[in-house]
Structure formats: C-alpha cells, structure tokens
C-alpha cells in the first residue's frame, strides 16, 4: 500500500529549511532516550513456606511476580518464564541525530543557588515537523524502538561550537589537530564530538588526545559492532565524564552500533589550556586505506534538554516544551577540574 505523509497546511519542513537560511534558531539536534533495563522481580520466596508452593522445595509465590520497581543493570531478552523474571525485551539507548527543529530560545540559562550548590537551569520551546514526517527520517523510521516523543526524552543541542576543524576527503586513518604550534586549546569547554563520515572501510575507533601535566592522555571510542558507513553516517559521542568501558550507541539504518570507551585517561575538565594541559588532536581510525570523507566536525559544548510537554498538531507540527536539567558554569569546570 502506498502511504503518503500529509504535509499539513503549515509544511513545517519547508519552513525550517527557509528559516535555517536566515536564523541559527533552526537547530539540528540529537534525540536521546536512555536504555530501559530489566526490572528487579521475584517469583519465588526463600523457603518452601510460600503460599504458591505445590510441593516440597517449591518456593513459588502466589499471584503475579512481585515487581520491586527498580531497574537492574542488565538489558536482556526475557520471556518471563524463568524464575524471578518478568517479560523484557532488549531496549538499548536511542541516540539519533539529524533532527531539524526550531528552538526558541536557543540558550536559556538561569542560575539558581540552592542548599546543595549552584544549579543552572533553563527552558525553551521546540517546534518540530509532524511525527509522520519525523518517522520518514533516517533511523527514526527504521528502528522499531522509536514510535513517538515521550516526556523525559532528551534533545541534545550544540550550545556552542568550540572546535570546528575543516572537512576532510582523504584516505586511511585521519589525524585532525586541535592545537598546533604554540596554540594550546583547552578541553574544559567541550562535552561532545559530532561529525559525519563516509567510507567503504570499517570505522574502528575515534580517539581524542590531549596533554595533562605534560603527559599524553586519551579517550578512545572503539567500535564494538562493525560500522561501515558507506553512506553519510552521523556520529555524536560524549567526551566528558566518561569512565573506562562505558558504552554508547551510534544508529545506522535503524540499528544501534555499540562503541566502547577504552582506554579513558583523558579528563577534559583538567585541560585548562596551557602548554602542559591542552587538547591536542583527534584520530579517526579505519580498517583500511580507502577514501574517507569527514564533514561537519564539531567538538562542542552541549545543552541537554529534557522534554516536558508535547503538543502534537497532527499534520502541522509539534510544539515541545523542554527544560534544561543539567548545566554548569564552565569557569568552575576550569577552576576545579
């Protein structure tokens, strides 16, 4: 059956396209939803005195499984038949880039001094194309995990592009310098790295290097799943507050590809921007020496927006109110590392 997406009387994608030539309030955000893990559940007691017991040694509880409400650290497929389990299907983190939205305002920052310290918050509205249009976009329509926006989903925006190296079209592994000669660029300002890549080779790793107290430090995101970006693939990964063996997903054609942080010796907050403490270069390693194209490389300070209110005007557009739940003062990052 042929399905068509109604453009609505507003034609939001066209408006966004036109507006983007006139204002930077049209943003390309990354949609993020956290992984949904198995929940802690009990179907059996400790001894066979339970009411659901049918025989000696049986500890079955009567009634439905008791769901304690909190998550475990596992993300597995469960049928719910096994002891102390309930149904669960693997639900990894969703991180899908390339969502064009109109944001007002782009930066909203209010300092609130609380008993626990200073907190930076803010609020804004996003105007997005209709859900039907969004589901036609790369990855959004291809993964079965995304069906609609939900409260507490997140949009990650480039609040400030800190380092924007030039586009590259070359072969083999690429080294992109952030600090050259007597330039010592700091790391404390940046949160994430984003770029688009196209190559026939497998993308093997992305390594951000720096110098801390004059010694080399690095954060390496290693592709655990085979990642072959024969068409433009948007990579957007965090580079701040990462611990060894953390994993993140990069979505390609609706499938999450896992990247693992290993090793992690780089702490961007400690790179204050002097001759001993600075971000030095970015390395992108591939499996062979075919043509590699990189564009829109951006090492940036991010703003994380948590969706609060979603108003869907069907074929027209969606108005989403969001709050900024996390934020800090970069001056403090530099001072306290």
């Amino acid at each position: 059956m042929v399905t068509t997406v109604k453009r609505g009387s507003v034609n939001m994608p066209k408006i966004l396209r036109h507006l983007s030539h006139r204002t930077n309030n049209v943003r390309e955000v990354v949609f993020q939803r956290e992984a949904i893990l198995d929940k802690d559940t009990k179907t059996k007691g400790t001894t066979d005195g339970t009411e659901g017991s049918t025989g000696l040694g049986d500890k079955t509880l009567s009634g439905p499984a008791v769901n304690f409400g909190y998550e475990k650290s596992t993300n597995t497929d469960l049928s719910g038949i096994a002891e102390n389990t309930v149904y669960h299907t693997i639900t990894p983190e969703l991180t899908i880039g390339g969502l064009k939205v109109l944001q007002t305002p782009v930066i909203s920052r209010a300092g609130i001094l609380e008993q626990t310290g200073a907190r930076i918050s803010g609020q804004c509205d996003f105007f997005t194309p209709s859900l039907a249009t969004i589901k036609q976009l790369d990855n959004f329509g291809e993964t079965s995990q995304f069906d609609e926006f939900e409260a507490y989903d997140k949009f990650i925006d480039i609040e400030r592009a800190v380092y924007t190296p030039s586009d590259i079209s070359s072969t083999g592994n690429q080294t992109i310098f952030i600090s050259e000669g007597s330039t010592y660029n700091p790391g404390y300002e940046v949160d994430r790295i984003r770029f688009k890549i196209k190559t026939a080779d497998n993308l093997e790793s992305i390594t951000l290097n720096g110098q801390e107290d004059g010694s080399g430090v690095a954060l390496r995101w290693e592709a655990i799943d085979t990642c072959t970006p024969t068409d433009w693939l948007l990579i957007d990964l965090p580079i701040r507050d990462i611990t060894d063996s953390d994993t993140k997903e990069v979505y390609q054609n609706g499938t999450g590809l896992t990247f693992k942080a290993d090793p992690v010796t780089l702490d961007v907050d400690k790179l204050s921007g002097d001759s001993s403490n600075y971000l030095s270069y970015l390395q992108i390693a591939t499996s062979s020496s075919n043509l590699i194209e990189l564009k829109d490389i951006n090492i940036y300070k991010s703003a994380e927006w948590s969706l609060e209110t979603i108003k869907d005007y069907r074929d027209e557009y969606m108005q989403i109110s969001a709050v900024r739940v996390r934020g800090d003062r970069t001056s403090r990052r530099r001072a306290y590392g």
Binding site: K42, G45, T46, T47, G49, T50, E51, G52, L61, S62, G63, P64, V66, N67, F68, G69, Y70
Partner: protein, 166 residues
C-alpha cells in the same frame, strides 16, 4: 560486613503481602514498592511506600547478639505508608463471590492488615532478619477519588528490627 536490612525488609514485606493476599483470591492483586510508572499500573494495586527510617532504641554498650554471634547494633525503625488503589470496575473473586468497589476495599484493608501481622519473615528474607515489632496504624483517607474514579485507602505501618553489624 555492610548489611542491607532496609532492602531485605522492604522486599520481604512486598513478597509476603502479595503471597498472602493472592493466595486468598482468584485474580491478581499487584504489590508495588513505589508509585508505579503508568504503564506498569494494574489494579487492585497495593503500594508500599517507605516514608521514614532511623534509630529507634540504643542498647547498653551497643552490644547485640545475633544468631549466637556478638556484634554492635541498635534497634532500628522503619515506617511505611501502605496505599490501596482500585478502579471502579476492578473485581476480585473471594471464595465464590465477586468483590468490587467498597466491598473489595473493605476486604483488602482487613486482609492486608492480617497478612502483615502473619508474615513469616524467614520465608521471604534474602538475608537473616530479626524483626521485633510491627504496628499497622488505622486505615485513613478511605474513599473515592472522583477525578480518577479510584477507590483507595492508606495506612501507616512501622516495624523495628535488630540492626546488627560485626
């Protein structure tokens, strides 16, 4: 070794109440350890909400014997508020009768109270417990929430246990 009595008691309490209540009815009664996410919520629901915990009583010289082993400890108290929530059309079969609405609420209030007093902790505990006292206060806020079309009631419950460490 660090002890985990608060979690062990909360889990045992939830398992104990669910096990006892469900054994007495045909149909499922659901017990939650916090206000459930909307997609998890099924009725009738019993929510075990922990509201407070802390030292109840100190012992002479902090000495305590637990299972024949000496250590230090206190009597520790933990308070919960139990909530019963059911929808207007929630029904449970008790014996051969179908119970709904206020009749079901009344039955649940009494039988949850009975279940709590009858819990044999050894059947549900995942670490050895020494629960000393349990007190269920009166059910209150018994009624019907018009906006949600829910029947409900709440009661405070507290217990004390030996907080023991070597």
């Amino acid at each position: 070794m660090a002890k985990d009595f608060l979690n062990v008691i909360e889990r045992a309490l939830m398992m104990g109440v669910s096990d006892k209540i469900n054994a007495a009815v045909t149909g499922d009664v659901y017990v939650y350890g916090e206000f459930p996410e909307t997609e998890d919520l099924k009725f009738p629901a019993i929510v075990v909400q922990q509201t407070a915990s802390g030292f109840q009583e100190q012992l002479m010289g902090q000495n305590q014997t637990f299972g024949g082993v000496s250590g230090t400890g206190e009597i520790y108290g933990v308070a919960y508020t139990l909530h019963i929530i059911l929808e207007r059309d929630t029904e449970i079969t008790v014996g051969s009768d179908v119970y709904k609405q206020r009749r079901l609420l009344n039955w649940l209030m009494l039988n949850i109270a009975n279940s709590i007093m009858d819990i044999d902790w050894a059947v549900y505990q995942e670490e050895t417990l020494d629960v000393q006292e349990r007190h269920l206060e009166t059910w209150r806020n018994i009624g019907f929430l018009e906006e949600l079309q829910w029947y409900g009631a709440s009661a405070d419950f507290m217990l004390t246990f030996s907080n023991y460490r070597t």
